[in-house]
């Protein structure tokens, strides 16, 4: 159901642009206004999200320890899975963010006969890596449209990405890899009954938007060629805040631009915020040193509890009869003594 909705949405996006640009000629709306609005929605939205998270304190040091703690000097500890100081936390976070460490642990449970088996299952990790890194490189590649002259690094990246020299212009490897990643992420949601059960429209929508983005990009590069000089003129004018839409850029470009705009605008309101959220996750970004260093909870209130002396009053007889010491320093005992003396 969710997948169908997401598909309809994405098809609607294409239609809207086709009608808006191709038929009604609203180039300025689709070429300037929507991209600007989307970009600033993304920027402000993401900053807002991080501030919102940061406003809630971290009352407790709830590290999830996945390795040996630091205790006795001769016990071999695991600084990456049970970091003891902030440097080790940074390393753990680096592994988490850059290499998806926790996903790499993934197992798949199976029932064989009357046995439960947990085998290594790294496919999700592999395709997640493919997807995210391809996306990242593609994003970097696009900076050639937003800088003049194009930095050497970006040029180099382009050449590297196209080093197979297939077709003209050369086909980018990351284009294929991101499609592979997307396809895996999509198909597993449909193929695994558990995944299908938990998947929402908001899980399919970003996948489809990125599909739309990638496919429109590939189409534009290899099939419906657009006026690249015009495109760069537009993107540079956006960068310089003096927007101008040159004539004659193909509609397919505006479809591409609309998909990235939609994605940016959608980002801060969706699960895609995991991109920044992962940095704030308290089970990962704290040191497991809570017995050595006191963690402060800003809203901590002193505990209200029954003190020993109050407790001793209640169980006074039992304590005496069972030969347990009475704490004479308790004010209640002094009063008791005084009362006994008065009798």
């Amino acid at each position: 159901m969710g997948a169908v909705f997401a598909l309809i949405t994405v098809v609607a996006f294409v239609l809207v642009v086709y009608l808006g640009v191709g038929v009604a000629g609203l180039h300025f709306l689709f070429g300037v206004i929507i991209p600007y609005v989307a970009f600033f929605t993304f920027l402000i939205g993401m900053i807002y999200r991080v501030i919102e998270w940061a406003r809630s304190p971290v009352p407790f040091r709830i590290v999830t320890t996945c390795g040996q703690q630091k205790s006795l000097s001769w016990v071999k500890r695991n600084p990456l899975e049970s970091p003891y100081n902030n440097f080790e936390v940074a390393l753990r976070m680096f592994l988490e963010v850059v290499f998806f460490r926790s996903l790499f642990r993934n197992l798949k449970a199976e029932i064989k006969g009357r046995n439960l088996i947990y085998g290594s299952y790294k496919w999700l990790w592999l395709f997640a890596i493919l997807f995210h890194y391809s996306f990242f490189i593609i994003l970097l590649r696009h900076f050639r449209f937003f800088a003049y002259p194009v930095p050497k690094v970006i040029d180099g990246l382009n050449q590297l990405d196209a080093f197979l020299h297939i077709g003209l212009p050369h086909f980018y490897i990351t284009d294929a890899l991101i499609l592979a990643g997307l396809t895996f992420l999509f198909v597993r949601r449909l193929a695994d009954p558990k995944l299908r059960y938990i998947s929402l429209a908001s899980d399919y929508l970003p996948l489809f938007m990125i599909y739309g983005l990638v496919i429109s990009g590939i189409l534009m590069r290899h099939f419906f060629k657009v006026d690249v000089v015009g495109v760069k003129e537009l993107t540079m004018s956006l960068v310089h805040f003096s927007p101008k839409v040159p004539q004659g850029i193909g509609t397919i470009f505006f479809i591409h631009l609309f998909f990235i705009s939609a994605l940016m605008a959608y980002f801060p309101f969706s699960k895609l915020v995991h991109m920044l959220g992962v940095f704030l996750s308290p089970t990962r970004n704290l040191a497991n040193n809570s017995r050595a260093k006191r963690h402060i909870n800003p809203w901590n209130q002193p505990a209200k509890f029954k003190t020993y002396c109050e407790w001793q009053e209640i169980f006074y007889e039992q304590l005496v009869e069972s030969g347990q010491p009475i704490d004479e320093d308790c004010p209640q005992v002094k009063e008791r003594k005084k009362a006994e003396g008065a009798e």
Binding site: W53, T64, R114, N115, Y197, R291, Q318, L319
Partner: protein, 543 residues
């Protein structure tokens, strides 16, 4: 209480295929053996919790206050502002499903709402529907729904089908910890007077009497004295531990289960025998007579309240540091919460330093509290204990990593180091079922009650199945653990799934292996273990 199916029947009934209907359209069905009895009215009253009344989850009407919606939404808002974990975990899940088959309750029951992702989604959908704009606009498409009484019932059912074991959080790429969600769920339910007796009654007992079991000070002392007589039967030692003694060097705190019920009592006897061997200057407290903390399963405030007496007593007695016994959730509190909620430690406490080896426990320099396994491992490493591991030769031992020390402390090597020195036959269970990937006993977080037996046996299956594996492969017949709930829960679990395997604490085996000077010289001879069974099988001579 529901009748439990035979183990084979239960195993074969497991089906991980979700139903046809969408989870939002699948109403919660209260299956027998899968929910716990509500807290008694009196218990709720005593604790000053809201809405004490007679009710049952089986009833249609749960008699919740008429303004329940405001109460819950206000409670959620407050907690979103107080806990970054809660807020973040509501926002960043991508439903990748990596956690889905990591939960022991899901693996054993196949109930899709026991997949951690969906358990959290029960709460997340309300967060979206009531607190976020996209959720309010797009509703179901964004995974949002409105808060209804049905949702409250669903929360009760599933947040008391989570043992807060945190196994899912190991696998989550963003470290989302279902335990945090379950804790919030339970706190919110408390606001409406929805709670379970198996947790709240121990909490009441702990608050008013001093321990979960409600043993009064004279009974605590008596129980421990009984254990001392048993120790004398076995070892000939006359042990007289001190109670509430001012000026002792060390305060020793254990979970109350250890001096109350089989097989925990043997672990407690183990502690006492070890301390006697060392001539340790320690005292027990009948006031701080509970190391465990069912407050952790109730609310953060209650956890803090119950734990406060540990430092309070340590201060009153003027001890130098605290040693804690073998207990799982107790150590999550002591390690991750105590300093924050009850600290800083009283000024009379010093950085723990072993009086026997001189080792300074730097990693506990702020809390001033160490785990008995850290203490003992250090002794063994320094050669301070004369051990005869062959005394445990009738046991082929494996070790169950308890959830909390594993994923809340990183406590893996210390108990293994001890076990490898006190017994000759030790085999770990398969790699993916131990250490940080360990499976819950199925009864953690206050769910080890009889009426919950169906779910306990299902949730415990992944653990039991791994035990069965090493039982068949290596002849394992003893499951050692460092948790009082485990000692009770795993015993029942083993009886059901792998009846050939017993359960013990690590220090029971330590005491069995410990050779006293008189025993070394041959003046005395040990023929019995702490359970008063022959040390060696009957066909062999006991030497």
């Amino acid at each position: 209480m529901a009748k439990l199916p035979k183990p084979e029947e239960l195993f074969d009934s497991i089906d991980w295929t979700p139903p046809e209907t969408d989870w939002m359209d699948t109403p919660v069905e209260f299956q027998p053996g899968r929910w716990c009895y509500p807290a008694k009215k009196k218990v709720v009253e005593d604790l000053g919790f809201p809405n004490p009344r007679e009710w049952s989850p089986a009833d249609e009407d749960w008699k919740i206050p008429s303004n329940w919606r405001e109460i819950v939404l206000e409670g959620m808002k407050e907690r979103l502002e107080k806990y970054r974990s809660f807020k973040l975990f509501m926002d960043i899940c991508v439903r990748c499903g990596a956690c889905a088959d990591k939960c022991h309750y899901f693996l054993g029951s196949g109930d899709p709402k026991n997949m951690p992702v969906l358990r959290a989604e029960l709460m997340r959908s309300i967060y979206k529907g009531e607190f976020t704009l996209p959720g309010k606009i797009f509703g179901r498409l964004a995974g949002a729904r409105k808060l209804t009484e049905e949702v409250i019932k669903e929360w009760f059912y599933y947040y008391y089908q989570c043992s807060e074991c945190r196994r899912c959080s190991v696998f989550c790429p963003y470290g989302i910890d279902t335990c945090e969600v379950t804790m919030m769920g339970r706190e919110l339910l408390h606001l409406l007077g929805i709670n379970i007796n198996w947790i709240l009654e121990p909490v009441r007992n702990c608050v008013y009497i001093g321990n979960h079991l409600g043993l009064q000070p004279h009974t605590v002392k008596e129980n421990i004295e009984y254990l001392c007589w048993d120790i004398e039967e076995v070892t000939g030692l006359k042990i007289q531990p001190s109670f509430n003694r001012k000026g002792a060097e060390i305060l020793f705190v254990a979970p109350s289960g250890d001096y109350f019920a089989d097989p925990g009592i043997y672990t407690f006897m183990g502690y006492l025998v070890l301390f006697e061997y060392l001539g340790l200057d320690y005292t027990l407290s009948t006031y701080a007579s509970e190391g465990g903390n069912f407050g952790l399963f109730t609310s953060h405030e209650m956890m803090q309240k119950i734990n406060a007496k540990i430092y309070h007593e340590a201060e009153r007695l003027g001890v130098k540091f605290i040693i804690g016994g073998e207990c799982g959730h107790m150590w999550r509190v002591k390690h991750q919460y105590m300093d924050t909620v009850n600290g800083p430690a009283p000024s009379n406490l010093e950085v723990p330093k072993s009086p026997i080896t001189g080792t300074v426990f730097e990693h506990a320099k702020s809390t001033k509290m160490i785990h008995i396994c850290e203490f003992t491992a250090d002794l063994i490493a320094h050669g301070k204990l004369e051990l005869d591991p062959s005394r445990n030769d009738k046991y082929v031992v494996t070790f169950h990593d308890s959830c909390n020390p594993s994923r809340g402390m990183g406590f893996f090597e210390e108990p293994r180091f001890i076990l490898k020195h006190v017994c000759n036959n030790f085999y770990d269970m398969p790699e993916n079922t131990i250490r940080e990937k360990t499976f819950c006993c199925g009864s953690g977080s206050g769910l080890n009650t009889d009426e919950f037996m169906d779910m306990r046996m299902r949730g415990g299956l992944p653990r039991a199945n791994a035990v069965e594996y090493v039982h068949k492969k290596h002849g394992v017949n003893m499951l050692a653990c460092i948790c009082a709930i485990d000692r009770a829960a795993l015993s029942t679990l083993m009886q059901y799934w792998v009846p050939e395997v017993g359960v013990c604490g690590v220090h029971e085996l330590v005491a069995n292996a410990l050779v006293f000077p008189d025993e070394k010289t041959g003046k005395k001879k040990r023929t019995l273990d702490l359970r008063q069974q022959p040390l060696k099988p009957e066909d062999e001579e006991n030497v």
